[in-house]
């Protein structure tokens, strides 16, 4: 039965309490542990399609009559467009429309007859000012979209772009984050979070450590670049084919922008080549394509290329973290404090970089201040645990520096400050398996002596660890339908997206488990807002915890109907009936293939529906973990090699151990790039992006990937839905960089505090450590 309730919705740490209509979640959780299908390793049900190149990504689509777009992007970090003369571009071969920004002083365009006289431009729309597309005549970062051209081919669009005569007035950019904070150039008000009294806590401490940590700006680099195809048809209806993490969010944003009823917009994303947080909304490219499609009456594609991805597709912003911690001699934390500067860029959310400091440890005196610096640099975008990746690097390095000063075991210091209720709001955790993670980590942590003993000449080896805390509850609303046909084949129908994480397989496993079917008897139809019910965003580690319970409920609805028919057909008491491995079983003695019942349906179908129930009220639903990294450092050249990472995470029940392991491995590889090699660099004077290609921007290669050992607590969260599963997309990337930095300290005694740990940073830290050691040894003699 549908109920109107108040529930908490959480995405990436932001809680909002809203009224929602939910259906009750009446199903009991399955017992813990692997079951017939759920909890068993399942290769992706779409793996062959993907491997054969048959899976249709947005990048593979071409609609009949489709035009291509080239976008003029500002070459300056800050500028004003005085004037754009589009006349030559308009008459260039193949050009069908030119879109210009509001505000620029536009010269008169060609008269229509002049255009008509040019054969290549018959029917060309006049250059028009953008009405809804986000073009600007005052670009605030390099790559800011200024104008757009639609033409018959991509090459024609690009050629026409070069014919736009733009009168630029370059302006002095603001590039330094600390400077921006001083000048109060902020994207939002500074965020202060405080409990207890930081100064008192520091006064009570036996030991205080202070350090400044810096993290760099990194790029998502999704395999599939940001892109959309827009197609108007019928009576003002708009189809949007897009590489997205949120089919429904794109629908709503595009509808609002164009003043349409929401269901006039249909959004399709069948296969998707990665987003990592950067594809949560429609993006300028979609709005540009939709506007050009409206003007030309043709389908229009707008796609970023790899170079545009580095400047106009979002990024994880750089941070400066000035941190302090105080502790008693036994390791009990008395104070944690931090000033966090997020170099957000021109636009974007200032993520919760202070989140780990607020949430991870039981500490009475905590004060954090977060600034979001507004700069003339490309806007950030959510990037796989935004804020927490950056903040965990600072906090978990600080805790290790504290442990070193106290001469205590870093794992012991973490256990001494274990939070048994949420330290911010004193709520109970719905479930907290962090201590279990620490227990599982002990055997990896115990390798320290052996690893250090393998140091050889210039190569020093060491082990470090770091904890992980993050959200991942998901929440309502999310819906699924399930259809069972006469052949006994079930199809899950829901307009969610699988962004490459394997959700398609996970929800098929959940449906198969509930139905009592083998996995091969379940298909999934997804990614189309016109052909399925509302489904969760794939961000904030929320897809499986949001969709899984809804899919299970839909399957349970169909199973009930199936057993009702079977009970009548075989004249048995329905309470004795179950379905196992595709057979209807009565009391364990007799059984019949499911097709015997479904075959009676003919063209009929059994239809089920399910909805995601509410989250537990008054409880903190979080994910936890710990990673143990082993590194080797060449102290002669500053080379750092990650040799092994053990990752232990608690995300409730694991639906697909194979897919989950893959998520963890991907997160760790991405984190190794963050820790050691990736950096989007800007020219310090002009603010233009220097690392626009993948030779300059250094993602890790397969040769950089260490041995990765993945373990899960795998206990269902007893308070969270009929499934007990939380999200796993983000947790694995969170603690890795800190674990690596702590392993470097263990190996060499050097404190690396800036990411990435390049050879320059490593050699600097080694030099600093040598000087410190010299001072220490020199002191008694003095």
């Amino acid at each position: 039965m549908a109920r109107l309730i108040k529930t908490e919705k959480e995405v990436e740490g932001h809680y909002t309490e809203t009224w929602v209509v939910v259906e009750e979640d009446v199903l009991e959780q399955w017992p813990a542990g692997p079951r017939a299908v759920v909890g068993q390793p399942a290769p992706r049900i779409d793996g062959h399609e993907r491997a054969r190149g048959e899976a249709r990504y947005t990048a593979d689509l071409a609609l009949p009559g489709m035009l291509h777009t080239a976008v003029l992007r500002s070459p300056y970090a800050r500028a004003r467009v005085r004037r754009i003369d589009a006349s030559r571009a308009l008459t260039a071969p193949g050009v069908r429309a030119v879109l210009l920004p509001e505000g620029a002083d536009l010269p008169p365009q060609h008269a229509p007859e002049a255009i008509a006289s040019e054969p290549g431009a018959i029917g060309a729309a006049l250059a028009e000012r953008a009405r809804v597309a986000p073009l600007t005549s005052e670009p605030g970062y390099e790559g800011h979209a200024v104008a757009a051209v639609a033409a018959e081919t991509q090459a024609q669009a690009q050629a026409a772009l070069r014919l736009l005569a733009v009168d630029w007035e370059p302006l002095e950019p603001l590039l330094d984050a600390d400077d921006a904070v001083r000048r109060k150039s902020l994207v939002s008000e500074p965020r202060v979070n405080e409990r207890g009294d930081l100064e008192r806590g520091l006064a009570e401490a036996d030991v205080v450590v202070e350090a400044v940590y810096r993290t760099q700006n990194v790029l998502h680099n999704s395999l599939e670049t940001h892109q959309a195809i827009c197609h108007w048809h019928g009576d003002g209806e708009l189809d949007v084919y897009i590489s997205t993490q949120f089919v429904w969010g794109v629908r709503d944003a595009v509808a609002e922008r164009f003043g349409l009823e929401r269901d006039k917009v249909r959004v399709v994303c069948e296969y998707m080549g990665g987003g990592f947080g950067s594809k949560n909304g429609p993006g300028e490219y979609t709005l540009i394509a939709a506007e050009l499609a409206r003007r030309t009456g043709r389908p229009v594609r707008c796609a970023l290329d790899r170079r545009d991805e580095s400047r106009a597709a979002g990024n994880r912003n750089a941070t400066i973290q000035r941190l302090v911690a105080g502790a008693r001699a036994d390791g009990t934390l008395t104070a944690l404090g931090g000033e966090f500067v997020n170099a957000v860029g021109w636009d974007g959310l200032s993520a919760s970089t202070a989140g780990p400091m607020q949430l991870l440890y039981a500490c009475d005196n905590v004060r954090t201040v977060e600034y979001g610096a507004r700069l003339n640099t490309p806007p950030n975008a959510a990037f796989r645990a935004p804020g927490f990746v950056e903040g965990t690097f600072g906090l978990e390095c600080l805790i290790d520096e504290l442990a070193a000063k106290l001469d205590l075991d870093p794992l012991e210091v973490r256990r001494r400050n274990y939070a048994t209720t949420d330290p911010v709001n004193e709520r109970d955790y719905s479930a907290k398996g962090l201590e279990r993670c620490y227990q599982l980590a002990e055997r990896h942590w115990a390798r320290r002596d052996d690893v250090r003993a393998r140091s050889d000449g210039a190569w020093k080896r060491g082990v470090g660890l770091a904890s992980q805390i993050w959200f991942g509850a998901g929440g309502p609303p999310s819906y699924a339908w399930l259809r069972l046909n006469a052949e006994g084949h079930a199809t899950v129908i829901t307009a969610m997206q699988d962004i490459g994480t394997g959700t398609r397989t996970a929800v098929a496993q959940i449906a198969a488990e509930e139905l009592g079917f083998p996995l091969a008897r379940v298909s999934v139809a997804l990614g189309d807002s016109a052909r399925g019910p509302f489904a969760s965003i794939s961000a904030g580690s929320s897809t499986t915890p949001s969709m899984g319970p809804a899919v299970r409920a839909a399957a349970a609805d169909v199973k009930r109907q199936l057993l009702e028919i079977a009970a009548q057909r075989y004249a048995v008491d329905i309470s004795t009936l179950t379905v196992e491995d595709g057979r209807i079983v009565a009391g364990g003695s007799r059984s019949w293939p499911v097709e015997e019942i479904t075959g009676l349906l003919g063209d009929g179908q059994l239809l089920g529906k399910g909805a995601r129930g509410p989250n537990p009220t008054g409880m903190r639903v979080l994910t936890f973990g710990v990673q143990v990294a082993e590194v080797a450092v060449d102290v002669g050249t500053g080379e750092v090699v990650v040799e092994r990472v053990a990752a232990i995470h608690d995300v409730g029940r694991i639906v697909n151990p194979l897919g989950a392991r893959s998520q963890v491995e991907g997160g760790i590889v991405q984190a190794i790039g963050y820790a050691l090699s990736e950096a989007r660099l800007l020219d310090p004077a002009s603010g233009t992006v220097l690392t626009k290609t993948l030779d300059a921007y250094k993602l890790p290669t397969i040769a950089d990937v260490p041995e990765i050992v993945t373990e899960f607590v795998d206990e269902p969260d007893p308070h969270l839905t009929n499934l007990g599963s939380k999200g796993l997309g983000e947790p694995p990337i969170i603690p890795t960089a800190a674990a690596i930095a702590n392993a470097i300290r263990d190996a060499t005694g050097a404190d690396v505090r800036s990411l990435p740990v390049t050879r320059e940073e490593m050699l600097r830290a080694l030099r600093e450590a040598r000087e410190r050691e010299r001072d220490r040894l020199g002191a008694p003699a003095a």
Partner: protein
């Protein structure tokens, strides 16, 4: 764009004289054409024109060049010299057991397997800098502009020698190896030591090679040393240009050391302590430290 089909060296050089651009493996020319630093109306494919493969495995007539030890010395065998066609791919060189270790390693540690399967030795020696300002076609000094953007700008990958005018670093690993090995070069019109192929760009001529626009690099002669090695520091384990590459080759008592990623051209180090004369920028002083370590290790590796 026009793709020509020269059948002979003479046809190829004639086309180059008319402003066409030579195309071998395409791993460098194609991206440069796409990104703008290189303009070409016509391309001259060199496959089938420029020699490919290692052959002419002949001995040098000058027996006095031989400083070999052990059995080879006892028989006073002349020092072998390999002739390597400029069209030979890096992939072919990295697995050839007759190629000296320094060159083999330099090839193996360059780029990716796919690029090494296409990229030729000649193209590798003539590749342009990876300086991002140059690659982004920023109109820098090396491109005819009035200043080097990297000197005041972002230059962590840049030069610590010969960088007074231009801070770019030469990216070729094989060039450093061949320089240490003392390779010589044959073009369609002359023979020269490899070291004379390169020159620091000057105000009046900003090219980094002495090759004429229509001159074709055909073949290298690579002496076989007693021992040689190539060590490379990168930002990741594979598929990155050298932050610092160090090649060392010993022939008898003489050791030659050359550096990649150190100067606008491949850099011959007169002696190990010549690193004291480095002129690092603020962001490249770490490279000198890396180079010191690698030079020490390279010398140790080639020591008798």
């Amino acid at each position: 764009m026009e793709l020509l089909r020269p059948r002979t060296i003479a046809e190829a050089t004639a086309a180059l004289r008319d402003g066409a651009v030579a195309l071998a493996g395409g791993t460098e020319v194609v991206p440069l054409l796409r990104d703008g630093p290189l303009l070409a109306a016509r391309l001259v494919p060199l496959a089938g024109v420029v020699p490919r493969g290692v052959d002419g495995r002949r001995a040098t007539p000058e027996a006095e060049q031989s400083h070999e030890v052990g059995a080879a010395a006892a028989t006073a065998a002349p020092r072998p010299v390999l002739r390597v066609g400029a069209g030979t791919t890096l992939a072919e060189l990295e697995v050839d057991p007759e190629i000296p270790a320094a060159l083999r390693e330099a090839c193996r540690l360059a780029a990716s397997p796919q690029l090494r399967s296409m990229g030729t030795l000649g193209g590798n020696l003539l590749q342009a800098t990876r300086c991002w300002y140059w690659r982004l076609h920023s109109g820098c000094w090396l491109q005819g502009g009035d200043r080097c953007h990297a000197r005041e700008g972002e230059h962590r990958e840049h030069a610590f020698f010969g960088n007074g005018r231009c801070a770019s670093a030469h990216p070729s690993d094989p060039a450093a190896a061949l320089l240490a090995l003392g390779a010589t070069l044959r073009t369609d019109r002359r023979e020269l030591p490899l070291s004379e192929l390169y020159r620091l760009p000057r105000d009046d001529d900003r090219s980094t090679t002495t090759l004429a626009a229509d001159e074709l690099l055909l073949e290298l002669e690579v002496p076989s040393p007693d021992a040689s090695v190539y060590l490379k520091a990168m930002d990741r384990k594979r598929f990155a240009f050298a932050l610092v590459g160090v090649a060392a080759a010993r022939s008898g008592g003489e050791v030659r050391i050359a550096l990649a990623g150190a100067a606008p051209i491949p850099w011959l180090l007169a002696a190990p302590d010549a690193l004291d004369e480095a002129t690092p920028l603020p962001g490249t002083s770490y490279k000198v430290e890396v180079a010191r370590t690698l030079v020490d290790r390279a010398l140790e590796a080639v020591a008798p």
